[in-house]
């Protein structure tokens, strides 16, 4: 009974002796302190990592918004142009074929006169020649005028009010991108022209307003960046996405259902499975080369066509869709299938009536994320001729949209970023904003679908 007769101090020493971990719960042992410190450190690392990520995102968003918002504003000038009959329709017969013979170069003098008249009307003193005065305007002005006359030949001889684009330098001056100092060596604009611009702003003739044409318009050549818009390339992207959706979704879903529900588990299906995962990791440029070799050189599909772009992006999106669809199908518990089979459904009925509807939100989420990925892809489009000065004719029919040459949003951004005039650079950033809005919207829809409809067991 010597154990019992031990004094409390003896117990304490006996307890201490066998293990160094023993101690008060209130006072932390050095080892516990070390473990807790490690955890605190890890949390701090985690927070720092998130902080760095957020900071990057913040820098990215502020840069994009800061540089791109300028593209959504454009400077216009309002002028009264006299549509001189002698110049536009010499015969006076209003015969459209005859009027068409007058090219945009023939319209330039009318615009020159109109600017000179406006400057005189506003009482601005200047030594500039009419040609220099017209330099304030975009070269697009003559095209605008010609298009109007061809549509309204009966208005020849009248004086009509027009709103013309100003040149990219004037636009940059209004937005603060171009200053009087920065144009010291610039032969495209002179300080005297800017004086006139200032006077016109004062008179309310020249103003910077919201630029709808940037969202709806076509690409423009290097000589008139102020006229360039994203609209046509947006349509190009839309048609490509239609092709991707029409092909990748049914093919991907059919392949996944077969692999997941019907295929026997053997070495062949294992190989297929591994290769689908491999395919998902193939760089997109490879699909571009494949598209060039197969769709254009071998199948003789037209170059630069959104149909070909869509086919290439389908190849790229398929693995994403297959993998996410299989995951969604796997997530449906076997009890659902068993119950359906138990009441006498065939395997196909069990899949299509019970499993597929339950997996649909997951499939749709995967599809939308795959589409968003495809929407932002540029590399494969380089090889099939969708990058360049292409997005200039808006498609009129579905067939036209699929087959006539077009660009895509990311390709258009890439193209603008390469061009010499800094005004294109601004538009590239503006294009990024539009593209990001699309991507964020698509991802939000995917998240909402998943949150609202996905069931967990």
């Amino acid at each position: 009974m010597s154990d019992i007769s031990q004094t409390p101090s003896q117990i304490a020493t006996a307890g201490k002796a066998p293990s160094k971990h023993a101690g008060s719960l209130l006072a932390q042992s050095p080892h516990t302190k070390k473990r807790n410190a490690a955890e605190r450190r890890f949390r701090a690392y985690g927070m720092a990592a998130i902080g760095v990520g957020l900071l990057m995102l913040l820098i990215l968003v502020t840069t994009i918004v800061g540089r791109g918002t300028g593209a959504f504003q454009q400077t216009y000038v309002t002028l009264n142009v006299e549509l001189v009959e002698k110049k536009l329709d010499k015969s006076g017969t209003r015969d459209l074929a005859a009027i068409k013979k007058v090219t945009t170069f023939g319209y330039a003098p009318l615009i020159r006169d109109a600017v000179a008249a406006k400057v005189a009307e506003l009482g601005i003193e200047t030594d500039l020649k009419p040609k220099a005065l017209a330099g304030i305007l975009s070269k697009d002005a003559a095209a605008t005028l010609r298009a109007f006359v061809l549509e309204n030949p009966d208005q020849i001889g009248e004086t009509v009010e027009f709103r013309f684009l100003t040149s990219s330098r004037v636009d940059g001056y209004m937005k603060g991108r171009v200053s009087r100092d920065s144009i010291a060596n610039d032969k495209n604009i002179s300080p005297e022209q800017l004086d006139i611009v200032d006077a016109m702003v004062g008179a309310g003739t020249l103003e910077t307003v919201f630029n709808l044409d940037f969202i709806t318009g076509a690409d423009a050549s290097d000589a008139r960046p102020e006229a360039a818009g994203m609209g046509v390339s947006m349509l190009g992207s839309l048609f490509m996405m239609l092709v991707v959706l029409a092909l990748a979704l049914p093919i991907g879903v059919a392949a996944s259902i077969y692999l997941e529900e019907f295929a026997p588990k053997n070495w062949l299906t294992d190989i297929i499975e591994v290769n689908i995962s491999n395919l998902a990791a193939v760089p997109s440029i490879v699909f571009g080369i494949l598209g060039l070799a197969v769709f254009i050189n071998y199948m003789h599909l037209p170059m630069s066509a959104p149909l070909v772009g869509g086919l290439v992006l389908t190849l790229m999106t398929l693995p994403t869709i297959i993998i996410s669809t299989r995951a969604a199908l796997k997530a449906v518990p076997p009890s659902i299938r068993d119950a359906a089979l138990g009441v006498g459904a065939s395997r196909m009925q069990a899949v299509f009536h019970h499993v597929l509807p339950l997996a649909a939100p997951g499939i749709l989420t995967g599809t939308i994320i795959g589409l968003a990925q495809a929407l932002g892809e540029t590399a494969p489009l380089l090889l099939i001729g969708m990058v360049g000065f292409i997005a200039s004719n808006a498609p009129e029919t579905l067939a036209d949209g699929l087959l006539s040459p077009n660009s895509a949003m990311p390709a258009q951004i890439y193209e603008w970023a390469k061009r010499a005039d800094p005004a294109f650079y601004e538009r590239a950033w503006g294009g990024i904003i539009i593209l990001l809005i699309f991507l964020v919207t698509m991802n939000t829809i995917a998240v909402i679908l998943r949150r609202r409809f996905e069931r967990r067991w």
Partner: protein, 346 residues
Amino acid sequence: MSFVKYTVSALAVSAAFATAASARDQVQVAGSSTVLPYASIVAEAFGENFDFPTPVVESGGSSAGLKRFCEGVGENTIDIANASRQIKEKELQACADNGVSDIIEVQIGYDGIVFASDINGNGFAFSPEDWFLALSDEIVVDGALVANPNKSWADVNAAFPDQSIQAFVPGTKHGTREVFEDKVILAGCEATGAFDMLKEANGGDKKAAEKACIRLRTDGVSVDIDGDYTETLARIESNKDGIGVFGLAFYENNTDKLQVATMSDVVPSTESIATGEYPVSRPLFFYVKKAHIGVIPGLKEFAEFFVADEVAGPDGPLAEYGLVSDPELSKTQAVVSDEAIIGGNS
């Protein structure tokens, strides 16, 4: 299985479209990124003024464009190749092998190549010798060929400021590189006497000596830019000592960021290039596939419009953008209207 039906019908419809598409109705152009802005300006004006759709202009470089051009005859090949250099014998042969025998060569004008540095940095007045001494692999020092020891521009020419040498030159896939080598480095090589020494060292072989002349140093002083001029500009913005090679039109659009250097005491401008005073310039071309004229609607009209006085002339939009118009434009116009092919009227 309604979606299976939809899929099948969608596939059928796209297949039907594909066959309907066999008739291409717009001109397709590809090639040099230097010619691209000019070609797109013309394409835009062409689409506005004619009833043909706006031609499609792609870039990719002179060599890539000519390669695609020579792939064969047919609607799946391009109609026009833009080039910032003349077509080579080898390329003509490749074309002929693929059945592209009748090619119309059209010279649209001249383009200047300028040397520019950061607007706030030092100004330079270069001569070809300076560039050779700064960038060549081997130079002559005290009568012997040695690996280029120059680190600073002051080493190259006592008149220059002490600024470390950092050059951004176009990569070898660019037509611009060839002009830079021929008109600057090779000229400098000959002027400094290195050419004769190299010729001697190579046993009198002129070709080998030329090759040795244009070999640039690889110690990081000269950086090849394979991208576009925007990349060169970005490099100069981040490295204020850098001096880059640009096209004249690009410089003229970015005068707020760049200052241009003179070459042999001539300031580059459309005028000094047109008179031939400014030495570093080259002709720009496009090549038309004669077999496509009459097949692709608007092809000949586009080619004629491209070289028309109001477009490519001294007051036209191309000259305004930076092209130095060809004083013998009327000859070029005759070539296009007669459809005169390379190598005579065979």
